[in-house]
């Protein structure tokens, strides 16, 4: 596996997926990957293989809802959307992320 800097930090994938689905009503796994990559200006890249175990785990937690549907190209895909529980989780994760970056920032600013 490459250790390039734009690999997503362990644990932040959940936050990114939740946020992505909060701004889009329903997306399939591939669309989530491209969305994160595009919106981050190619700074972030989802490790594609590990996306699906994560999606399924979040579904188990009750944060996501999944259903089979058709894409505009008439392909069958599994579409994910956020549940109410998932929205709450997003708020919690955003807050903890903010605290985390704040903390890391302070350490870095300390001379």
């Amino acid at each position: 596996m490459s250790t390039s800097k734009n690999d997503i930090l362990q644990g932040t994938l959940t936050l990114l997926v939740l946020k992505t689905l909060a701004s889009n009503r329903r997306l399939h796994g591939y669309a989530i990957t491209t969305h994160v990559q595009r919106v981050s200006g190619d700074l972030l890249r989802v490790e594609e293989g590990s996306l699906y175990p994560a999606l399924h785990r979040m579904e188990q937690q009750g944060w996501l809802k999944a259903e089979w549907g058709l894409t505009e190209k008439n392909r069958e895909a599994r579409f994910y959307s956020l549940t109410a529980k998932g929205r709450k989780q997003l708020a919690a994760e955003e807050e903890s992320w903010a605290r985390f970056t704040e903390g890391v920032g302070r350490v870095l600013r300390y001379v």
Binding site: G29, Y30, Y52, P53, E59, R78
Partner: protein, 878 residues
């Protein structure tokens, strides 16, 4: 996704996997599309898409593990794997499953009997509060209670909700074509209330029906069985029926489950206020009582002791020396079978233990053969837990299949038990129900752990070291197996010792000299009941029948007796000597048997001194009453050593006719002769001092013993016809040869012995298989060594000797341990043994020798086979 969904996914993994595959394929397709639109070639796009995704199989498995309950999934895979393995080795599988099915099934069947008979409360509301009450008088075998005294106890105690009494008797129903005997229980007011049960149909007795002045038809409550057999409809309830010179009305019917006292057909009301019920010396009731909630037996006992002490002060003449015995009702019903059942259960559990050990050893050697497979699984990254779980699952599946068949075995075995032991108390309640199934399930779990844990631990550990090499052979690897074989041997020695002792007891009993001759004796009863007839009329009726039967061709002697000889019935009591005895002399406690004078000739009990008693030639009983008595040799020798007993007078013999309302008080009886000792109280009981009171009327329907010239059953028709001519309104019942009756009295003994022997032989067979299997395996591990030694010139017979010697040493040590174990186990048999001690050296020695011999024979074949393999073949094999 809920856990239900995960469970479904675990059980149907293929569908889940298909879905994940589709999702992943879609992703890769979309990526390839994008790459193509960026200008990559078709093939390049697809390859890049795939490599960016990573290994789809790994991602699929990771996703799958999220979606399904992983442990269940693994278990499910293990189970399917185990089933495949079972199909691959059908012989092994069949042997193990069958052994377990029999082991678990037999165990559950015996447990179902224990559960129904011993563990469950009696089928009455709050049945654990019910007790049996009897009165104890110093030195006498007296157990029954005078009605008035029972009433006093009931009135004066503070620890009982209520007390009642009952008296068993037989009446005859002459309403049908043939006179029919009916078991009757005469009960006091409140009998059904104390038990907490009420008629399923109709009502129970009213207060008026318990009064002597009541002139209506006799009220009867019928058992469900009788009600059905009579085929009477509900309309007949309370409609009086005339039977002979009495009128009966069935006022109620009990439910089918109500059986107290056992085998009663009808319950009738006593005359609580009758004059004879007011006499403190006339005793006939067996008491039952219901303790108040929270009261212990000890408190109740103390309470009744206080009550009886008060009564003793109030009525010193009649109540002195009387105490109360209180025993839980359940104990009086099932107590006698307790040891038997637990011994049986112990034996069947030991057998199951042997079977488990046997299977554990088998699994162990099989796991050893799969060393290579296990090593491969390790190298592919399986964890030790995963491999151990797989081995444990295999044991679990085997025992579960065994248990399923075992349930079927248990159902038929418990049905067999009901048929084989119909005299077992509460036998009708034995059934394989949910409780028994739960028990079976638990024992299956236990069996799985017992069979599976040792192989799982041992072989996974070994495989870790072996890791691919099949050459390492350490002696330690089969020491566990030999340990298991040793356990089997020790346990089976214990079982064999128990069975051996019981067989010896039965053998000893069959060799005992009885002192009477039970062959060619027919026994039966002719119905009769206390009623308006005088005692004289009863005596004359019985004598008439005796005389008439005596004149039948083929009949050599006839008598009546209060108790049958040889069937474990006895009544002990204290007699007094009219002539007086020294205060220091022991009390004259003896068995009291009331027999007609022809008894000694009919039973072939020899006269030693004096003369045989005669039928008294008086009438107008009991005014001019005296009776002759005979005593046995033990009585004469123990109580009157060195002096003659002839001409002395005893009192007490006829006092036992307590249920006879017309006969009371002490009747002095002269000792006219001494007869030989006879084992009348049971083949396994030494003769005890016995007094025979010569009197034809012990009670209205006494036993008749008829000595016939030939086969006693051949005389039945003639005897019945003759009695019918004389007494057309009486039924003749309980007809059986005496030998059969004596056999029946020991049927439980024999059944117990037979079952224990069966278990022991099965155990021995398992041990054989165990020794054979383990030695075969041990030898197969040493093939190279043996071959090498033979190639270097070792003598073949020395090699065989050495191999057999190794196993025999282990067998001998284990057998010695087993003998030690037997000494502990057989002590619990001591009440069932006759003529042998629990530590009988001959039996134990023979058992030890048998086991060592059998195990030695089982070792011969594998040892010989190993020594006769051509050395070069064995050496080239690896």
């Amino acid at each position: 996704m809920s856990w239900v969904q995960r469970l479904v996914n675990a059980l149907r993994p293929s569908r889940l996997l298909r879905d994940i595959d589709r999702e992943i394929a879609f992703h890769i397709d979309e990526r390839a599309d994008d790459l193509r639109s960026q200008g990559l070639s078709d093939e390049e796009a697809r390859r890049t898409a795939r490599s960016r995704f990573g290994n789809p199989l790994v991602q699929r498995d990771r996703t799958r593990d999220v979606d399904s309950a992983a442990a269940i999934d693994a278990t499910w895979r293990n189970i399917r794997y185990a089933l495949r393995a079972m199909r691959r080795t059908p012989g092994f599988t069949a042997a193990v499953v069958l052994t377990l099915a029999l082991g678990i099934g037999a165990n559950s069947a015996v447990f179902s009997a224990i559960d129904a008979v011993l563990l469950r409360p009696l089928p009455f509301p709050d049945g654990e509060r019910l007790v049996e009450l009897t009165q104890v008088r110093d030195g006498s075998g007296e157990t029954r209670i005078a009605p008035i005294r029972l009433q006093d106890w009931n009135r004066l105690n503070v620890t009982f909700d209520g007390m009642a009494g009952y008296l068993l008797g037989d009446v005859v129903d002459t309403s049908g074509d043939l006179p029919e005997r009916v078991h009757n229980a005469t009960v006091t007011p409140g009998f059904f209330d104390v038990l907490g049960v009420h008629p399923a149909l109709g009502r129970s007795f009213s207060d008026e029906e318990h009064q002597v002045a009541y002139k209506g038809p006799i009220a009867v409550i019928a058992s469900d069985r009788r009600w059905r057999n009579a085929g009477r409809d509900l309309q007949a309830l309370e409609r009086p029926v005339r039977v002979g010179n009495v009128t009966l009305a069935t006022i109620g019917v009990m439910s089918p489950s109500f059986q107290f006292p056992r085998d009663v057909d009808v319950w009738t009301a006593d005359d609580a206020d009758a004059p004879w019920a007011q006499q403190r010396t006339l005793t006939w009731f067996t008491g039952i009582g219901r303790l108040k909630s929270g009261v212990t037996i000890e408190q109740a006992r103390a309470d009744l002791e206080r009550v009886q002490a008060d009564l003793c002060r109030q009525y010193p003449d009649t109540d002195r020396g009387i105490t109360v015995s209180i025993v839980p009702l359940k104990e009086t019903i099932v107590g006698a079978t307790r040891t038997s059942l637990w011994v049986l259960y112990g034996a069947v559990s030991v057998l199951l233990l042997i079977a488990c050990t046997n299977i554990a050893a088998l699994l162990l050697s099989r796991a050893a053969r799969r060393e290579h497979e296990i090593a491969v699984r390790y190298s592919l990254g399986a964890s030790r837990t995963a491999v151990a779980m797989q081995l444990l699952t295999e044991a679990g599946v085997l025992s579960l299949v065994g248990a399923l068949i075992g349930v079927a075995v248990a159902i038929s075995a418990s049905r067999g038990l009901r048929l084989l032991a119909p005299d077992l108390p509460r036998v009708g309640e034995i059934a394989v129900d949910a409780r028994i199934l739960v028990y079976t399930l638990l024992s299956t779990l236990f069996v799985t752990l017992l069979c599976g844990v040792a192989p799982a631990i041992q072989s996974t550990r070994r495989a870790r070291h072996a890791s691919g090499s099949t050459r390492t052979t350490t002696p330690a690897r089969h020491s566990l197996q030999w340990l298991l074989v040793g356990v089997q041997i020790a346990l089976s020695v214990t079982l064999l010792a128990g069975a051996g002792l019981l067989v010896r007891s039965i053998d000893a009993m069959s060799r005992v000299s009885l002192g009477f001759d039970p062959r060619h004796v027919l026994t039966l009863r002719v119905s009769g009941q206390y009623g308006n007839e005088t005692t004289d009329a009863h005596i004359q009726r019985i004598n008439r029948v005796l005389d008439s039967l005596e004149s039948l061709p083929g009949v050599e002697g006839v008598a009546v007796a209060s108790l049958l000889p040889g069937v474990r019935e006895y009544e002990q009591q204290e007699f007094s000597l009219l002539e007086g005895r020294a205060g220091t002399a022991p009390p004259l406690i003896a068995e009291n048997r009331i027999v007609s004078p022809g008894y000694f000739a009919a039973m072939r009990i020899p006269l030693l001194t004096g003369e045989l008693c005669h039928r008294p030639e008086h009438s107008g009983w009991p005014k001019a009453a005296t009776a002759d008595v005979m005593v046995n040799r033990t009585f004469a020798n123990r109580y009157f050593p060195g002096t003659s007993v002839l001409g002395l007078h005893l009192t007490g013999g006829l006092d036992r006719l307590v249920t006879n309302r017309h006969l009371a008080g002490a009747v002095p009886s002269r000792i006219v002769g001494v007869v030989g000792d006879a084992r009348e109280a049971g083949v396994d009981r030494d003769p005890s001092p016995t007094v025979y009171t010569c009197f034809s009327f012990p009670y209205p329907a006494p036993w008749h013993v008829i000595r016939t010239a030939g086969d006693p059953t051949a005389a039945v028709t003639a005897v019945r016809r003759r009695i019918r001519e004389l007494e057309p309104a009486r039924s003749v019942y309980d007809i059986a040869p005496l030998e059969q009756r004596m056999g029946d009295a020991y049927a439980q003994n024999r059944l117990r012995t037979w079952l224990l022997s069966l278990f022991a032989i099965t155990a021995l067979a398992l041990v054989c298989a165990g020794v054979y299997g383990t030695l075969s395996y041990a030898v197969s591990l040493r093939r190279r060594e043996v071959a090498l030694r033979l190639a270097l010139g070792a003598l073949r017979h020395r090699v065989v000797q050495q191999l057999i010697g190794t196993s025999l040493r282990i067998v001998a040590v284990a057998a010695a341990c087993g003998l030690g174990l037997s000494l502990l186990f057989t002590r619990s048999l001591s009440t069932m043994l006759y003529g042998v001690t629990p530590s009988d050296p001959a039996t134990l020695g023979a058992v030890g020798a048998l086991v060592v011999t059998v195990a030695g024979v089982a070792a011969v074949i594998p040892a010989t086979r190993a020594a006769f393999v051509p050395p070069m073949r064995a050496l080239r094999e690896e």
